[in-house]
Symmetry: C2
Subunit: 662 residues, 2 copies
C-alpha cells in the first residue's frame, strides 16, 4: 500500500502552519445570491424557519439562533457562570456547576446534539459536552434551560461527545486526552503514557420519559486521543464510530509527534454487543471513583448535586467483537454517517483525500477476519476491506461532513477555506464555495439525521478578520449561511457568533416552538421557601440565618424595607415572582452583593444569599424593567452591628403599607 | 395652576399597571417599508454603517451591534465576570471587579455615552454606569476593552449616569437611591429618610489625553431619587440637568407613595459655578470614605485597584446659584437636551403631556428670581417661567427623547408602546409608529449631539413576547430599527438583544474603525511575567508558588509537560501569546480549574492561577481553534503529593523537544 497519496503534509511544522492564513479562498470573492437580502430577511412579527442550536465553545454556553436571519434568540447558560441570568449565583443553581472536586465556573462547550426518535430530531432536548472538565449536559426545550449535568470519571477532556444514537438510547463521551484511570494512582511520569494512560468511551443512557442520564458503562481502550464520533443509524444501528488521533501515543509536542503516522483509526464500537456483555456480567465494577450528577427540578426550582462513586468498565481488548479499528488517513477529525447509515466518512485533517467506508463491507470484513493486525489488542480491519471509495483531491484540511438528503455530502475544509459538495455514491465533486475564513464545523438542518432538510448549510468559521466592523484585537467568530436548495451553493449572509461555535444543529421551528413553556405555574411551585402571596411575605431570623420570604409583582416588593439585619448574618432572599403573565420577569439585586443578581421568571422562586460585611443602608431593586413604575420598585435593608438590639422589622409593600415586627 | 391636566394617573395602583400590556398598539400592525430587506441587509464582506453601543442592563456588559443589520459584533465585559473572555478570572483582570468592600462579580449597566469633542462624538471612549454598586467605567475604543472603573462614594444605585458634557469635561453620576452619607453612621431607621438620607451628584473629570477619570467633586442635595440627566450644550454649555422622582421623599411602597406629587423636579446644575466655588475653597473635604479606582494598562497588561478615601462635597443648599429646581410633571424619567442646547425636554412617565423648557427662559427666570419657593433650601423656578411650551396629548408614558437634526424630536412611550415625532419649536406632532412592545429608551445615531445623523431610530423594547421564536419562559429583549429619513417613520427590522439594553448610542463607523487595534505589539509588552520567546519559557518554583512562563504559537505550548507540581501549590500560568497576526488568539484551560480560562490575544500576557487539590495527571489545551493542528495543542501537568521529591521538570515544545530540570 502506498501511504504517500493519503498524506498532505510529510511533517507538520509550526512554520508551515503559520502560512495557513495565506490560503484564503481566491477568485470567487464574496459573490452572493441575487436575492440574498430577501432570502435571509425575516420581517418584523414573523418567525424564523429554524432554531439553530450552536455550541458556545469557550463561553461554555449554548446559543440559539434563528435561521435564516442569523439573529441570536437566546444564550442558554450551561457550564459557565452567567451573571445576566444569575446562573451559578443563585442558591438554586449553584449545585449545577459542582464537580467531584468543587465548583468549576467555566467550561468549553463543543458539540450539541438534538435528541432523536427514529433517527430524526424530536425537539425534546439538546445535549452538550464540556471539553475541559468532562461532563455532559441536557437542556430541556420546554424551558430552554439546563436540566442536568453529568460528570464523567476516567476522562481527561470530553471532546468526542455528546453524540447520540438514533433513538437517544445513549449519549457518548470519548476522552480527548488519555489519562491514568481514576482511583488507580495518577501520580505517574508523563513519559509512561503508553503504559499508564488509557482512553475511555463513556456510554450514558437516557431515560425515554424524562431524559434523565445515567453513566451506563465505559469502554477502556489503549491511550490515544479521541476526537469526534457518530452513531450508526438505519443499517448500522447498534454501532458507534469514533475518530482517533495520536495513535503514535506521543506525550509531548503532538503538533509534530502525533502527525507522524500516515493513518490513524476510526474505532467502530458495537454497543449492542456491549449490552450483551453487560448482561452477561462481563463488566468490571469500579467503585473508588468520584463524579457528580447534577439535576435541576422545575417544580422545586432547585438543583441537587449527587456524588457518585461507581461505574462499570468493559475492556475492549478482552471482549471479542466489541471494538474494531479501521485505518483512516491522517489524524481524522470528523467521522460522519450518511442518512442511510451505510456510509461512514472519515475526514483526516492532514489528508489529501476523503475515505468513505461502507458499513456492509465492514461487517463482511469482520466476518471474514480481514484484519491487518491489531492495536492494543483490538483487531485492525484492512483499509481496503472497509472502504467504499475515496473522494480524490477534494481540498485541503477536510474536517467535517453533513448530508443534504438528496444523496450528497458537503465537507468543510479548514486549510483551503471552502465547502465542497460531492455525491455519496459515485464520490464525484459537484460544487465548491469559499468560506471566510477557515471553516471548522458546518451544519445542514437535520444534516446528521435520516431525513436532512437540505435548504441551507451554515459554515462556522474559525477566523473572522475583516468580515465585520473591527472591534479591537478580539473579534467575534463568524458564521455564513449558504442556500443549497439548487445545484450550486450560494452565499447568503455572514453573521457573528457568541464564543466559538464548534458544532451546531438546526431543527424546523414547528418541532420545538409549541413545546415552549411561557410561565411556571404558581400552583405547581414546590420550592421549600415559596411565598404564595404578599400575605405570606415575611422575615424570619434563625440564629445567624435570616430568611426573607419576598414576593414581586408590578411594581413592588413585599416586604420592601427590612431592619434588624446584623453584620455577618446569612441573609437569604427567597424571591417568588407571583406574576403569571408571559414575559414578566423581575430581577433582584442588592448593593455590593457577591452573588450577583437574580432573574426570577413568573411563578418561580430563586434565592440570593447575602452576607453584609458592614453597617449601613443598602438599597435593593428590580433589575428587569417591568412597568411604568419599575423605577419605584425598590427597598432598603438596614444593617446594624453584630449584637445590636434593633429588632427584625419589615414593611409589607401592599397598597396599605404596614410594618410588622417579628 | 391646574395640576390635573398634567396628570395621567390620579393614583397608580398595581392593578392598573397590570393592565398596561393590554395597551398594545393597534391598527398599524407590523407594516414595514417595502424595501426593508435591502435597507437592513449588509452583504457578506461589507461593513455596517454604524457602531451601536448598547448597554447590557442586568448582564453588566456592553454590547456592540452593527447598524442597520442588527448583528451583535462583540460583547465587551465591563462590570460582570465573563467566563468567555476570562474577564475577572485572570489575575490581571481580577482587580477590575474590586470595590471598596471586595470583589463584586456583577452589575447592572444602564447607560452608555460616547466621548464628545465640540458636542459631537469623537470615537475615543465609551462610558458606562453601574446601577447597583455605584461605579463608572470607561471603555477604550482602540482595544474595545474596559480600561477603567471608578467607584462612587455617598451613593446608592448609580442610575443618572454616565452622561457627559460636550467636551467630555465631566461624566456625572446622580444617586438613584438616596442614602445616608458614607462614613457618617449609616445605621439609622429607614423612616428617618427625610432627615438622614441625602442625594449626591458626582462630577467625574476626564483627562483629555488619556481619558483617566477622577472624582472631581460631589454636590449634596436633599434626599430624592435621581433618574436621568443630560448636559447642556451650545447655549447651555456649563449646565447639567437631572430628573428627579420621589420628591415626596417616601421610603416605602414608592409605586404609590412616590407617585403622589403632580410635579417633581428637573434639577439644573451650574457646573461652571461649581468650579468657581471649588477654586474659592467652598468645598468640604471629606476624608473618611472608601472607594476604589481600577485601571487596566495595555502595556503591562495588568490592572490595579487603588483605594481612595477623600472627596470634596459642595452643599447645594448653602452655595447660591449652584442649583435650581424646575417643576416637571410627573415623575420625570428622561430629561433630554436638543442639538442647540436651548430646549430641555422632560418626560414625566405618569404625565399626559411633554413639557419643553427653554434655557434662555430659565436664565431669565433665575436673573428675575421668578421662584415659587424652595425645596430643601434650593430655589424652585416657576414652571411657566421656564417653559417653552407643552406637547399636548402625545401618548401614554413618555420616557425618552432623541433628536433627528432636522428640528424634530422623537419621544418613546412605554405605556402606549409607540414612538412619536414632533417639532421642537412649534411642538406639533408629526408622526407616530407603534413599537412591539413597551419601548424604553430610543436611539438616533448622534441623537444627543449637536449634529444628529437622522437616518434611523432604534427602539429598545422592554417586552418581547411573540416577536421571535419562543425560547421558554425567558425571552431576549428586543430592538426595532425604523427608517426616519423621510417624513414618516418606517419599521425595518426587529432584532433580539443581550441582557436588557437601556440606553444605547451609535456612531458612524468611520469615527471608530480606523482606531481599532489589531494586535498588541510584542515589543511593547511590559508584563512582569512576560516570556519573549520559547527560549525563555521555563518553570520556576519559589516556595509554594510555581511560576510557569509559558508561550503559545500555532500549534504548541512551551513548555507542554510539567512535572514536580505538588498538591496545594499556587501555580501561576503566565501565558504569553507570541503570535503577531491579527485574529490569532490562543486560549488556555486546565481540567477542573476554579479560575475559568484565559483568552490571550497576540502580544499579550495573561495569568491563570491554579491550586491543584489532588494528585494526578491534568491535561491543558488551547481553547480557541487556531490551526489545522489545534487539537494537538495540549500538555499535561503531573501533580504529586505535598512534600514529594519529584523535581520540577518540563518539556519545551519546540520542534526538537527537550526536557529541562530546574
Amino acid at each position: 500500500m502506498n501511504f504517500k497519496k493519503y498524506v498532505l503534509f510529510g511533517l507538520a511544522t509550526a512554520g508551515m502552519l503559520l502560512s495557513f492564513e495565506s490560503c484564503k479562498p481566491k477568485g470567487a470573492g464574496n459573490a452572493v445570491s441575487g436575492n440574498a437580502a430577501e432570502k435571509t430577511y425575516v420581517a418584523p412579527g414573523q418567525y424564523d424557519e429554524f432554531y439553530n442550536f450552536a455550541s458556545g465553545g469557550f463561553s461554555g454556553q449554548l446559543s440559539v439562533y434563528g435561521l435564516p436571519s442569523g439573529r441570536l434568540l437566546r444564550v442558554i447558560p450551561v457550564f459557565s457562570l452567567d451573571p445576566e441570568k444569575g446562573w451559578g449565583f443563585s442558591e438554586e443553581t449553584k449545585p449545577m456547576l459542582e464537580t467531584s472536586h468543587g465548583s468549576v465556573p467555566w467550561d468549553d462547550l463543543h458539540h450539541v446534539q438534538l435528541s432523536k426518535t427514529d433517527g430524526d430530531y424530536d425537539g425534546r432536548w439538546v445535549f452538550a459536552n464540556a471539553n475541559n472538565t468532562p461532563r455532559i449536559a441536557r437542556i430541556d426545550l420546554t424551558t430552554f434551560r439546563t436540566a442536568e449535568i453529568l460528570e464523567l470519571p476516567n476522562s481527561g477532556g470530553n471532546h468526542s461527545s455528546p453524540f447520540i444514537t438514533e433513538n437517544t438510547e445513549y449519549v457518548v463521551a470519548g476522552t480527548r486526552f488519555s489519562v491514568p484511570m481514576d482511583g488507580e494512582g495518577g501520580d505517574v511520569p508523563i513519559n509512561t503514557y503508553k503504559q499508564n494512560f488509557r482512553g475511555t468511551l463513556s456510554f450514558v443512557s437516557v431515560n425515554k420519559d424524562n431524559g434523565n442520564m445515567e453513566l451506563a458503562f465505559q469502554i477502556e481502550t489503549p491511550g490515544v486521543n479521541y476526537d469526534l464520533s457518530r452513531a450508526g443509524k438505519g443499517v448500522s444501528h447498534g454501532w458507534f464510530f469514533f475518530s482517533t488521533y495520536n495513535t503514535e501515543q506521543a506525550n509531548t509536542l503532538l503538533e509534530v509527534n502525533a502527525s507522524k503516522n500516515d493513518k490513524d483509526f476510526v474505532l467502530a464500537v458495537n454497543w449492542k454487543k456491549a449490552e450483551e456483555y453487560l448482561k452477561a456480567g462481563k463488566g468490571k465494577k469500579v467503585s473508588n471513583l468520584k463524579y457528580v450528577h447534577n439535576k435541576y427540578d422545575d417544580h422545586t426550582h432547585t438543583a441537587t448535586s449527587t456524588l457518585k462513586t461507581e461505574t462499570i468498565v468493559l475492556n475492549a481488548e478482552e471482549l471479542e467483537g466489541l471494538c474494531y479499528y479501521i485505518p483512516c488517513p491522517k489524524s481524522p477529525h470528523g467521522v460522519d454517517v450518511d442518512p442511510s447509515g451505510e456510509y461512514i466518512v472519515g475526514s483526516g485533517k492532514l489528508a489529501a483525500l476523503i475515505p468513505v467506508f461502507s458499513f456492509s463491507k465492514i461487517q463482511k470484513a469482520i466476518a471474514g477476519k480481514q484484519f491487518e493486525g491489531e492495536f492494543g489488542g483490538i483487531p485492525v480491519i484492512k483499509y481496503e476491506a472497509a472502504l467504499h471509495g475515496e473522494v480524490e483531491k477534494p481540498g485541503l484540511g477536510p474536517l467535517h461532513t453533513e448530508f443534504d438528503g438528496r444523496g450528497n455530502a458537503i465537507t468543510s475544509f479548514f486549510v483551503s477555506s471552502e465547502l465542497v459538495k460531492w455525491n455519496i455514491k459515485d464520490l464525484k465533486i459537484l460544487d465548491r464555495v469559499p468560506t471566510f475564513y477557515s471553516v471548522g464545523h458546518l451544519m445542514i438542518p437535520g444534516g446528521d439525521t435520516k431525513s436532512p432538510e437540505g435548504k441551507y448549510v451554515v459554515a462556522y468559521n474559525k477566523i473572522t478578520k475583516d468580515r465585520f466592523l473591527p472591534t479591537g484585537p478580539e473579534l467575534a467568530h463568524s458564521a455564513q449561511i449558504y442556500d443549497i436548495s439548487g445545484d450550486k451553493m450560494q452565499l447568503l449572509l455572514d453573521f457573528p457568533t457568541i464564543g466559538e461555535p464548534h458544532y451546531a444543529q438546526a431543527v424546523k421551528a414547528e418541532k420545538v416552538k409549541d413545546r415552549s413553556l411561557k410561565i411556571f405555574k404558581i400552583e405547581e411551585n414546590k420550592h421549600p421557601f415559596f411565598t404564595k402571596g404578599e400575605n405570606e411575605a415575611r422575615v424570619e431570623r434563625k440564629g445567624n440565618d435570616v430568611h426573607v420570604y419576598l414576593t414581586t409583582i408590578r411594581s413592588h416588593f413585599a416586604p420592601d424595607n427590612i431592619e434588624g439585619i446584623q453584620q455577618g448574618d446569612n441573609v437569604y432572599f427567597h424571591v417568588t415572582n407571583i406574576e403569571q403573565d408571559w414575559d414578566m420577569p423581575h430581577g433582584f439585586a442588592i448593593k455590593g452583593a457577591r452573588n450577583g443578581e437574580l432573574l426570577v421568571l413568573p411563578g418561580e422562586t430563586q434565592t440570593l444569599k447575602w452576607v453584609p460585611d458592614r453597617i449601613g443602608i443598602f438599597p435593593f431593586y428590580c433589575t428587569d424593567f417591568c412597568s411604568a413604575l419599575h423605577q419605584e420598585m425598590q427597598g432598603y435593608i438596614r444593617v446594624s452591628k453584630k449584637g445590636s438590639n434593633v429588632p427584625i422589622t419589615y414593611s409589607l409593600g401592599t397598597n396599605q403599607p404596614v410594618e410588622k415586627t417579628n
